[in-house]
């Protein structure tokens, strides 16, 4: 168990194992995405009130769910890097931020596109929309703080502290935005809750959520591999790797 934990801290080992994982996870992800998208967009029944426009749910909900989960992955990586000073946890944290920000942006964008036909407007200060917007700024804050430091070790530690502060704050922010929304807005907008969905719609949605989780892991591993190569660029094993790759290419 502990030897596995120690191996996680080794860049060449992580690079090698992530390559092996990606070899089968990437095709699985693409398959899941393709099946989920075709099922959801073509074969799932249309909503009787929203018609076909509800199908944005198959992108919107998975993106939102994974965007939120991504923050906790980032904060966990941050905590690991603070406690055990593990370089690879820094890499994971650093890689989570842009992916999470992109997913949050996708969730907001798809929400706006969905809002136009359903609510009649691109943007509504709904509790969940506002929370997602705050989450987007939390991600952007971590990215900007990382970029602002010249010293990479200090950058990682500062971002770890910031993301941990964010972890404490996210539930408070969510609860207060919920409270604010129920106070300020009339509850005139109702749209289908997940729990009241018919199983013909729910099944492709769940499939898409799983697919998005896999996509998140794949992007994270790919991003981490790039980041490892960038950081370890001067080491022996990376040079050997690149030379081998060059030879293979030449052959």
């Amino acid at each position: 168990m502990w030897s596995f934990f120690h191996k996680l801290g080794s860049p060449p080992w992580l690079y090698a194992i992530s390559g092996k994982i990606l070899q089968w996870l990437l095709p699985v992800t693409l398959l899941l995405l393709a099946v989920g998208a075709v099922w959801g967009l073509l074969y799932a029944p249309a909503d009787f009130r929203q018609g076909n426009s509800y199908r944005i749910i198959f992108v919107h909900v998975p993106a939102s769910v994974v965007a939120l989960a991504g923050y906790y992955v980032m904060a966990t990586a941050g905590a690991i890097s603070l406690i055990w000073k593990m370089k690879m946890a820094d890499v994971a944290m650093r890689s989570c931020a842009p992916i999470g920000a992109a997913l949050t942006f996708l969730a907001l964008l798809s929400g706006a596109v969905w809002g136009k036909p359903t609510w009649g407007t691109w943007w509504i200060w709904d509790a969940r929309v506002t929370s997602m917007l705050v989450l987007f700024f939390l991600y952007v804050g971590v990215i900007s703080l990382y970029e602002a430091f010249d010293n990479e070790v200090a950058a990682a530690r500062a971002c770890a502290v910031l993301s941990l502060v964010g972890t404490v704050n996210i539930p408070i922010i969510y609860k207060s935005v919920d409270w604010w929304y129920s106070l300020h807005q009339p509850a005139s907008i109702k749209f289908t809750e997940e729990s009241s969905m018919h199983s013909d719609m729910l099944a492709p949605l769940l499939l898409m959520i799983v697919a998005f989780y896999c996509l998140f892991i794949c992007s994270l591993l790919l991003y981490m591999r790039g980041e490892i190569l960038r950081r370890e660029g001067t080491t022996h094993w990376v040079r050997k790797l690149l030379l081998d790759a060059g030879d293979a290419h030449a052959v």
Binding site: L82, V134, F137, L138, V140, G141, S144, L145, A148, F149, N151, V153, A154, R157, A158, V161, L162, L164, V165, G166, V168, N169, I172, I173, K175, S176, V177, W179, W180, L183
Partner: protein
């Protein structure tokens, strides 16, 4: 853990902060002037209609107080970071928790408290109904303390950076959201003639949580900044 007893240490730290601040009285006035200036901008921007102003007053007052606190927080550790005081402080045997708390307390005494005291004046200028004044002051009293604590985390993380100014806003404003919601909510409730007690209690809860946890984050931030500098 040894060294000087803790309470005298805390009061010595605090005395030093306040003494340094009182040597530059104009800097104490700056957040208040900023507060007044921005309050002046709102009627110019949204029109002088008293009813409209009264409706927006809780939000305006709270947003401006929030920005004033944030602006003041940005320079909280800067001078001490540049002249090496902070490094000395990190080396003392006393818990960093207390020295961080003394910085925050000084910051609050110099920004949050004066803002709270002058807020009724600006509230009258914005036509806020008089019954809402106690709620405004109480919510600012509790809320600005939370703002100081949370803002200091951002200040500690960015103190070593050249371009900290805009960055700290980006880092900290998301964390200010709950305080703003409950702070202006308290004033709005009171303006409508309801009791603001629930919101004030929530603000009090946030303050307790922030006092307990924020100094640890500030201390960690300062260590990182000093190590990197």
């Amino acid at each position: 853990m040894s060294g000087a007893p803790l309470l005298p240490f805390l009061s010595a730290c605090l005395r030093r902060q306040l003494l340094l601040a009182f040597r530059r009285p104009l800097e104490i006035a700056n957040p208040l002037l900023f507060f007044l200036l921005v309050v002046m901008l709102f009627p110019l921007g949204i029109g002088p209609d008293p009813r409209q102003l009264a409706e927006f007053a809780p939000g305006i007052l709270w947003i401006v107080a929030l920005l004033a606190t944030l602006l003041a927080a940005e320079s909280l550790f800067r001078v001490d970071f540049e002249d090496g005081t902070l490094e000395q402080l990190l080396l003392t045997p006393q818990p960093l928790y207390l020295s961080c708390l003394s910085y925050v307390l000084a910051h609050w005494l110099l920004t949050g408290l004066p803002l709270t005291l002058v807020a009724p004046l600006f509230a009258v200028m914005l036509q806020l109904p008089p019954p809402a004044l106690p709620a405004l002051m109480l919510s600012l009293l509790l809320g600005t303390a939370v703002l100081s604590l949370v803002g200091s985390i951002g200040a500690a993380l960015t103190v070593g950076l050249k371009r900290g100014g805009l960055l700290i806003s980006l880092l900290i404003i998301p964390f200010y959201v709950p305080v703003l919601i409950f702070g202006s909510g308290a004033v709005q409730f009171a303006a409508l003639g309801n009791s603001a007690q629930p919101q004030l209690l929530v603000l009090g809860g946030m303050l307790s949580l922030a006092i307990a946890l924020a100094p640890f984050a500030i201390a960690a931030g300062l260590r990182i900044s000093v190590d990197a500098g």
